[in-house]
């Protein structure tokens, strides 16, 4: 093809383009882009970020940029302050750019400033996207749905041995062992715990733990100290997917003051600091140990109570026994004393009474004796005298009568009769006073006062008339 018209050197063209661009893009512009790679050169301190725009994961625009040392330091400092994130790969930014064309380096954007608020919103959006995605995949509560570890004793510890968080965490566990004898075992799986590298190293350690998971009860992700920069890694979808689908409960203690990261939200248990996480683990031991101790105390208490009750019953019975015995004794004694008193008083009374009676009797007797003996003496004398008098009289009378009788007797004696002329007739020795008793012709004897004669009855004249 023949040349028609003028030709330009490359430089001339570049200069022309440069001129056109400069005249067209006369000011600075706010442009939204994602920092695909920051490309920081530590030696110079300059950054040459690769800016992209993606749609559905594909790059639809791409441009190089320059971030000079001074601007980088200022902007990075603002980001650290506002986002708690440094300028890094993958971050979306709203930046103030100047379009520049260089004959050697071509088209690029000179970044003069960045709005951290935009990036912050974007980070938050990224976090929300992560949560949304996990939710859609049904993974958000996957780890939390794992059964409660009965005793989280064996811990797969993802941490950094040089970090403060690791020190805090292990110190609490060691203290618990010392104080309560709780036995923890932990094995360290070292990882970077913030920034871009964290996402990769933590996932690597999770894969290692997976191989030996039967030896562990839980996974603990422990971070602390070293500032709160680079926490966005915990909102990373890939990392969170790995965490939530892990077959052991994942515990987090990643110590920061900002909003909860996704990792903390999906964790089986989250504590705000490594120390708190360790304390939570200790608490799980307490939860088993305290009821045990309570049982022990209750046992001791109940045991003592049983013994104390028995002792009390015994003492009660004993007291009752003593009291009863004593009251019996007292009542017996009282009864006895009463009886004795009664006995004593009644015997005294009786004694006295009898004594009195006796005395009375004695007096009566003495008196009576005296009276009687006097009166009896008198009456005896009298009687005697009377008797004597009577006797004399009787005797006199009798004598008179005797004299009289004697006289009569004298007068009636056969001799006297015979003297007076009467005679006694007998027949056969038998005195006769009736003629009928006389037998005729039989001798009769006739006694006279002086002498006797015999006669013979010749005739008898019976007299009918009584004599």
């Amino acid at each position: 093809m023949p040349v028609s018209g003028p030709s330009y050197s490359l430089l001339e063209l570049c200069e022309n383009i440069k001129g056109v661009l400069r005249s067209t893009y006369t000011q600075t512009y706010w442009v939204r882009a994602e920092i695909n790679t920051l490309n920081l050169y530590p030696a110079s301190g300059h950054c040459y970020p690769d800016l992209v725009e993606k749609q559905n994961g594909s790059i639809v625009a791409q441009m190089r940029a320059n971030l000079w040392k001074g601007d980088y330091q200022r902007i990075n400092s603002t980001f650290l302050n506002v986002l708690k994130e440094p300028l890094r790969d993958g971050i979306k930014v709203l930046m103030l750019v100047e379009i520049q064309f260089h004959p050697v380096y071509g088209l690029s954007l000179n970044i003069q400033d960045m709005d951290p608020a935009f990036s912050l919103g974007d980070l938050e959006q990224e976090k929300q996207r992560c949560i949304q995605t996990l939710k859609e995949e049904g993974l958000l509560s996957r780890n939390r749905a794992l059964p409660k570890p009965w005793l989280p004793q064996r811990i797969a510890l993802i941490s950094d041995a040089s970090s403060k968080g690791y020190g805090d965490f292990t110190k609490v566990l060691a203290e618990a062992n010392k104080q309560w004898g709780y036995a923890f075992y932990f094995h360290l799986f070292p990882a970077v715990l913030q920034g871009e590298r964290a996402v990769v190293t933590i996932q690597e350690q999770l894969q290692k733990i997976q191989k030996v998971k039967t030896h562990f009860d839980v996974v603990a992700l422990v971070r602390g100290g070293g500032g709160e920069v680079g926490m966005a890694c915990y909102n990373n979808l890939e990392l969170n997917r790995a965490l939530t689908t892990f077959s052991l409960p994942v515990l987090t203690g990643i110590g920061h003051a900002s909003n909860l990261t996704v990792a903390e939200q999906i964790a089986w248990h989250n504590a705000i600091t490594p120390t708190k996480l360790a304390e939570w683990l200790v608490q799980q031991f307490h939860n088993l140990s305290v009821p045990l101790q309570k049982c022990e105390e209750a046992l001791t208490k109940s045991g003592l109570e049983v013994v104390a009750d028995a002792r009390q019953d015994l003492q009660h019975a004993l007291r009752l026994l003593v009291a009863t015995a004593r009251s019996r004794q007292i009542s017996h004694r009282a009864e006895w004393q009463q009886t004795v008193q009664q006995l004593s008083s009644s015997s005294r009374y009786l004694t006295k009474h009898h004594h009195n009676l006796l005395e009375q009797n004695r007096q009566q007797i003495t008196q009576g004796m005296a009276v009687r003996s006097r009166s009896e003496t008198l009456s005896l004398d009298q009687s005697f005298r009377q008797l004597l008098t009577g006797f004399k009289q009787t005797l006199g009378n009798q004598r008179q009568r005797l004299d009289f009788l004697n006289t009569q007797v004298q007068n009636l004696s056969p001799e006297q009769v015979l003297k007076r002329g009467f005679s006694i007739v007998t027949q056969g020795g038998k005195p006769l006073n009736n003629t009928k008793d006389i037998q005729l012709n039989r001798e009769l004897k006739i006694q006279l006062f002086r002498g006797e004669l015999s006669a013979q009855p010749i005739e008898i004249h019976h007299s009918n008339e009584p004599i």
Binding site: R154, F184, H187, S302
Partner: protein
């Protein structure tokens, strides 16, 4: 029997003894036996809390396989 089951069984039995004692069902005669049994159970449970049976070598062997 796993550690958990051992612990649970021991603890359950322990609580039963405690309940019995607290309700006054245990007399002085049984007391010594029950307390002896309870202290064995307590000891057993305490040991579970104070001992970890971890074979570190097995963990390391497991990590090396890859």
């Amino acid at each position: 029997m796993s550690t958990k089951e051992t612990y649970k069984a021991s603890f359950d039995e322990l609580q039963k003894i405690v309940a019995e004692m607290e309700s006054g069902e245990i007399g002085v005669d049984e007391l010594a036996d029950k307390v002896k049994r309870a202290s064995v159970l307590i000891q057993k449970c305490k040991e579970i809390l104070s001992k970890t049976e971890v074979d570190v070598q097995k963990i390391l062997d497991g990590l090396d396989e890859s």
